[in-house]
C-alpha cells in the first residue's frame, strides 16, 4: 500500500520569509513523489516531481523539494514567499512496484497563507 501524510493543515508565513510545507510518505519500494498546487475554483497545477537522481528537485514558480529517503519525507520549500503563493498544496506518491495502473495517492493538503 502507498500513503502520504501532510501533518500541517495550515502554514502561515510572512511575505519574503522562507516557507516549508511538509510531506511524509509510505511505500514498499522506491517512491515517485509529486507536488501540486490548487488555487480556488481551479484544478491542480503540477509543481515538481522526484523520480530518481539528485535529492533536491527544482520546480515551477521558484519552488523546490528535498527527497529524504531515511526520513521518508519530501518537503516543499521556497526561499522567499510571495502573497500570490497562498493556495492549497498537495503532496502525492506513486509506488512503481504496484504494477498496472498509475494511481497517485494524495495527502490531505496543506493550506499556505502568506501575509504581507
Amino acid at each position: 500500500a502507498q500513503s502520504v501524510a501532510q501533518p500541517e493543515d495550515q502554514v502561515n508565513v510572512a511575505e519574503g520569509n522562507p516557507l516549508t510545507v511538509k510531506c511524509t510518505y509510505s511505500v514498499s519500494g522506491n517512491p515517485y513523489l509529486f507536488w501540486y498546487v490548487q488555487y480556488p475554483n481551479r484544478g491542480l497545477q503540477f509543481l515538481l516531481k522526484y523520480i530518481t537522481g539528485d535529492n533536491l528537485v527544482k520546480g515551477s514558480y521558484g519552488f523546490e523539494a528535498e527527497f529524504n529517503k531515511s526520513q521518508t519525507s519530501f518537503h516543499l520549500k521556497k526561499p522567499s514567499a510571495l502573497v500570490s503563493d497562498s493556495a492549497l498544496y498537495f503532496c502525492a506518491v506513486r509506488d512503481p512496484q504496484l504494477g498496472a495502473g498509475n494511481m497517485l495517492t494524495f495527502g490531505g493538503g496543506t493550506r499556505l497563507m502568506v501575509k504581507p
Binding site: V4, R42, G43, P96, N102, G108
Partner: protein, 115 residues
C-alpha cells in the same frame, strides 16, 4: 497548448437524480483519469483509462458510477442515482503515455452539489 477541458463547471441536482460530466484531455495524451475530491481532502482516483481501455477502476462505486472513453479521446463520467455523499469536485486528468513516471495534468474540475 490547450489544457484538460471539463464541463460543466458546476452542477446542482437532487438526490436520486442522474448527472454526467465530460472531459477532453490534452491532445495526444493516451491516459485519462477521473478523480473525486471531497471538500477538505485530497483527490481520490476513481478510474484510469489507457486509450479506450480501463486500467484501474478498483475505487469506482460501480453500483452507481460509470465511465466511458469510447474513441480513446474524450470521456464521460456518470452518476445514477446520486447520493448526498457524492457532493464533491470531480477532476479529470491526463498524461502522455501512462507510465509510472508520467506527470498528470488536471482540468479545472466539476463541482457537484447533491441536495
Amino acid at each position: 497548448e490547450a489544457g484538460v477541458a471539463q464541463s460543466p463547471r458546476y452542477k446542482i441536482i437532487e438526490k436520486r437524480q442522474s448527472v454526467a460530466f465530460w472531459c477532453n484531455p490534452i491532445s495526444g495524451h493516451a491516459t485519462l483519469y477521473w478523480y473525486q475530491q471531497i471538500l477538505g481532502q485530497g483527490p481520490k482516483l476513481l478510474i484510469q483509462f489507457q486509450n479506450n481501455g480501463v486500467v484501474d477502476d478498483s475505487q469506482l462505486p460501480k453500483d452507481r458510477f460509470s465511465a466511458e472513453r469510447l474513441k480513446g479521446v474524450d470521456s464521460t463520467l456518470k452518476i445514477q442515482p446520486a447520493k448526498l455523499e457524492d457532493s464533491a469536485v470531480y477532476l479529470c486528468a491526463s498524461s502522455l503515455v501512462g507510465g509510472s513516471t508520467d506527470t498528470q495534468y488536471f482540468g479545472p474540475g466539476t463541482r457537484l452539489t447533491v441536495l
